[in-house]
């Protein structure tokens, strides 16, 4: 990132943070209209610095590592497929995966925020799944918080010299699960229970979203490992350029 780009990201972060501090607080994605307007705006603003950073990150990839764009498109397509598949789970309800883990591991969490946003807009506008008013909250959980955790877990596992495929599994699995934990927190924030307050609501939403998501998160972890195995054998040069494989 250039100095100017850093400044823009920093400035937008400060604005976002200052909104975060103001106590405005009185799996599937959050449904249209199910968050109060103030929360929609809050989550939306929190996303902006990440999206700007993502925009710069993609731009840099485009200029400096042009040949990796093909892999980036692949990561986007992967997120498209995975978030369209609603899979039955042990709780008796269905949910879908996020598919953002692959991109986060290869391109970093910032770039993926844009991919996730595209998927979410597609689903909100055409599929009535998620929503435009809840776009900010959903982007935050699926395109920012999840990928961020995935990236962190992956880097940590690398530091601990863990087997690479095992670290990818763990990173994608935890990132997927974390997305739906964040969704539950967002809903609990907006809909605290009269009896027991936010904690009671949180327990309830975690029971719905997070528990449903556990087997799906395992599947996402496995699929991400499979794709990486494929890329390692067919796209070595791109992975080296991305710094995923050592040169």
């Amino acid at each position: 990132m250039t100095v100017k780009q850093r400044k823009i990201v920093l400035a937008s972060s400060i604005i976002a943070l200052s909104f975060g501090i103001v106590p405005t607080v009185s799996a599937m994605h959050i449904m249209e209209g199910f968050l109060p307007p103030s929360h929609c705006i809050l989550w939306g603003i929190l996303c902006i610095p990440f999206l700007i950073a993502g925009f710069f990150s993609i731009n840099r990839t485009r200029k400096e590592h042009r040949k990796t764009l093909l892999i980036f498109a692949m990561a986007g397509a992967y997120a498209f497929v995975l978030s369209a598949l609603k899979i039955p789970s042990v709780t008796g309800s269905s949910s879908h995966m996020t598919g953002t883990g692959l991109g986060a591991i290869l391109f970093g969490p910032a770039a993926v925020s844009i991919l996730g946003l595209i998927v979410l807009i597609f689903q909100a506008v055409l599929l009535a799944h998620g929503g435009l008013t809840t776009l900010g909250a959903n982007t935050f959980s699926m395109a920012i918080a999840g990928p961020l955790l995935t990236y962190g877990v992956y880097k940590l596992c690398q530091k601990m010299k863990m087997n690479r495929l095992v670290s990818i599994f763990l990173a994608a699995f935890l990132g997927d699960l974390f997305t739906y934990c964040v969704t539950s927190v967002q809903l609990a924030f907006s809909h605290p229970s009269e009896v027991g307050g936010m904690a009671a609501s949180l327990a309830k939403f975690l029971g719905i979203f997070a528990v449903t998501q556990i087997p799906l998160a395992v599947i996402e972890g496995i699929l991400t490992v499979i794709v990486i195995i494929g890329l390692e054998s067919y796209a070595k040069s791109e992975l080296k350029e991305l710094g995923y494989l050592s040169r």
């Binding site: 449904m31 692949m74 397509a77 008796g92 597609f122 009269e194 494929g230």
Partner: protein, 96 residues
């Protein structure tokens, strides 16, 4: 077959099993979306809450909705497969 090839097949089978097991174990469920379950929970916790926005375009029914989800998956799978195909071909050429 290489060791990794075998691993891929085992992993694919494993993920299919994980997806199918709930269908066999839980008989009396329609496997509705978790977002629907959350909607019910919200109405329960917050009976006075009124949704203040509704989707811009709502598919008329389940069939159209599943069509659109298929389009999404199809688009993704198409692009993914196209790129993977190019990569595998490239590797072949590199060898020759």
């Amino acid at each position: 077959m290489t060791k990794r090839g075998k691993l891929v097949i085992v992993l694919l089978l494993l993920s299919a099993v994980i997806a199918v097991v709930p269908l066999i174990l839980i008989q009396d469920s329609e496997f509705g979306g978790a977002d629907g379950a959350a909607e019910e929970a919200i109405t329960e916790i917050d009976p006075d809450y009124e949704t203040w926005a509704s989707p811009v375009i709502e598919p008329p029914g389940g069939e159209t909705e599943s069509l659109l989800f298929c389009v999404q998956a199809g688009l993704g799978a198409g692009v993914f497969g196209f790129i993977l195909g190019r990569l595998t071909e490239r590797k072949k050429h590199e060898k020759n």
